[in-house]
């Protein structure tokens, strides 16, 4: 069993809303292993995006963080800004959802790709520029030489996202965090970008943490999956297991809401709604909507161990 590249231990993120501290992420733990794609899935607002940002401690000061994110023997959450600047963009990189607004409109594409190279690898701007050209080729953008001098508004959405990927990969990071990279793109472009990411990952042997709400994407690229609900991590499993043997009641219900191409059946929405962040239940956060809920669920369950871990009283072996 290889040791994990990154260990997230009991991560919690809280915000002050109307003078009360509310936990948006409720003490979650997971590992990231080398050379894998881990997908973090969940509905909008379940906390997956802020979890991703906390892996680089990229959250605004207004957020209070608890727990640890251990990378290369150090806890990222307790590192100083200066040290973090050295890691961000070079050993861990992140790409975001909206390529139009995520690129600086007044700087050229070439400059934005070259920047991490100059900052972290100490390259000169002209060397970095040639390397940027190679990167554009890597992400399969045609006419690379011309693109270097263009501005973001001159490129299409799919191309901009590839530029983002090029920026992320520039320094050959060990982990690439991708926050819903294809959500804002057309379906056909989505498939291309995902394929690109997958190929690059296999080529360079890096790990990808992909945030998504789309189970289709998960089925496509994931090696392992982590399911989140309302700030809780409810299940982690290898992708095949997740789809064939979903364990947590939420996961099971979730899979029933996804239409499948091979069979015709009824779509079953999940009863109830996600509780607002100010009034989260104390125990298992899914309990109010869970068909298998019972008394024990008033206390938060622990995540079980092993490659297929679940956080549910109903699944714990009764002693």
């Amino acid at each position: 069993m290889t040791s994990p590249l990154m260990k997230v231990e009991d991560l919690s993120i809280s915000f002050k809303i109307e003078d009360r501290w509310c936990r948006a992420v409720n003490g979650i733990s997971f590992d990231i292993f080398p050379d894998e794609t881990l997908c973090i899935v969940g509905e909008s607002g379940c906390g997956k995006s802020i979890t991703a940002m906390s892996l680089m401690k990229l959250l605004p000061d207004a957020a209070q963080l608890g727990g640890k994110v251990i990378f290369d023997g150090q806890d990222i959450l307790s590192m100083k800004e200066k040290e973090l600047e050295g890691i961000r963009g070079s050993r861990i990189a992140m790409i975001f959802q909206e390529p139009m607004t995520s690129l600086n409109p007044v700087l050229t594409v070439g400059e934005q790709i070259a920047e991490p190279l100059v900052l972290h690898k100490g390259m000169t701007w002209s060397n970095a520029r040639s390397e940027a050209r190679n990167l554009l080729d890597l992400v399969r953008i045609p006419d690379a030489e011309q693109r270097l001098g263009q501005y973001p508004h001159e490129l299409s959405g799919g191309m901009r996202q590839r530029v983002m990927i090029a920026i992320g990969l520039a320094c050959r990071p060990e982990i690439l965090i991708a926050d819903e990279p294809t959500t804002a793109l057309d379906v056909t472009i989505q498939a291309q970008v995902l394929a690109l990411l997958d190929d690059i990952r296999k080529d360079q042997g890096l790990s990808i943490v992909m945030i998504t709400h789309d189970l289709g994407v998960v089925a496509n690229v994931a090696d392992r999956v982590a399911v989140m609900y309302a700030g809780d991590l409810v299940e982690t499993a290898p992708v095949a297991d997740l789809f064939t043997k979903p364990s947590h009641p939420y996961t099971q219900a979730l899979l029933k809401t996804v239409p499948r191409a091979d069979e015709a059946f009824e779509l079953l929405p999940i009863e109830g709604q996600v509780p607002p962040i100010q009034s989260m239940p104390d125990g298992c956060r899914f309990a109010p909507r869970c068909v298998e809920a019972h008394d024990a669920c008033n206390v938060a369950p622990d995540l079980s161990r092993g490659p297929h871990a679940v956080r549910c009283w109903a699944r714990v072996e009764r002693v």
């Binding site: 961000r88 963009g89 992140m94 995520s102 690129l103 409109p105 700087l107 920047e115 900052l119």
Partner: protein, 292 residues
């Protein structure tokens, strides 16, 4: 644009004929005759247009000098005053605005916001008078009567106080715009991306954010240029400097309407040029804008 300007300005003339001067009736008649005011409006306007086409703005009613000459004599002084004010505005206002955005809601920010509001509200003559009293008389740093003659060093030295006095307003406006522009920009996604790239804070602000924030700042400078010219009039009077301001007041007192008219045209023309310059600056700063 300028065509409308001319149409707008010409009607000032019949008012002149209606109101008349303080001079005696005979003098008035002779005067009007000489100036061609007794001709019909159309003829007057036609003459104005033809004069303009030849690059002339008519002759001064008082001194007989061509208006263009009088204006051109003093224009550079006013321009240098205005530029000085903009200079102060940027040098002081921009960094303060940026700092204010960074220390948002801190005591410094609050303090600066109040100060900038004060700076906006100060009438130009009060600033000028207070500055003269404190810096010229009490502390004797700058001369009281600012004369723009002499060598360049002398000229600049004399320019500092009036330009600063005029610049207080610009400082206030630029500071506020810089603050809100920076706040807007810092909240944008691309700043988050730059942070995720590991860019150090200083580079984030100066390189990534500032270039985007400059856009609204350029707008502000162009927008308030008109205000600047107007206030320059007052500043020139108080500091006793030659310039458009003095000319305006002089022509007003002497009822020299041709000069006034010419001044109006020049002012409008200036504004048009400033707008053009602003547009050019936009194209320089924002690559999304294309020059026509």
């Amino acid at each position: 644009m300028i065509v409308f300007v001319m149409i707008r300005v010409a009607p000032g003339d019949p008012a002149l004929a209606i109101l008349g001067d303080n001079a005696s009736q005979e003098a008035l008649d002779a005067f009007r005759d000489r100036m061609g005011l007794n001709d019909s409006m159309l003829v007057q306007f036609g003459r104005f247009l033809s004069d303009l086409a030849q690059g002339s703005l008519g002759t001064s009613m008082v001194s007989g000098k061509p208006v263009v000459t009088s204006v051109m004599e003093v224009l550079p002084y006013t321009l240098e005053l205005a530029l000085g004010a903009i200079f102060f505005g940027i040098i002081i206002g921009l960094p303060l605005g940026i700092i204010s955005a960074l220390w948002r809601n801190g005591w410094f920010d609050y303090f600066l916001r109040v100060v900038s509001l004060l700076g906006l509200s100060f009438p130009a003559f009060l600033t000028a008078i207070l500055l003269i009293l404190w810096l010229s008389i009490e502390w004797r740093i700058f001369p009281v009567i600012s004369s723009p003659t002499g060598g360049p060093i002398d000229r600049i030295y004399n320019l500092i106080l009036p330009a600063f006095s005029l610049g207080v307003i610009m400082v206030a406006y630029i500071m506020r715009t810089a603050r809100s522009a920076m706040l807007d920009v810092l909240g944008e996604d691309y700043i988050r991306t730059a942070r995720a790239k590991g860019a150090p804070v200083r580079r984030l602000i100066l390189h990534h954010a500032l270039r985007n924030a400059l856009i609204p700042i350029v707008t502000v400078v162009g927008l308030y240029f008109g205000l600047l010219i107007g206030n320059a009039v007052l500043t020139e009077i108080i500091f006793n400097r030659p310039g458009l301001g003095k000319l305006i007041v002089l022509s007003l007192n002497q009822r020299d309407y041709t000069t006034l008219q010419g001044l109006m045209v020049i002012s409008a023309f200036l504004i048009v040029i400033v707008n053009l310059l602003t547009d050019i600056c936009y194209a320089l700063v924002d690559p999304r804008v294309k020059l026509k």
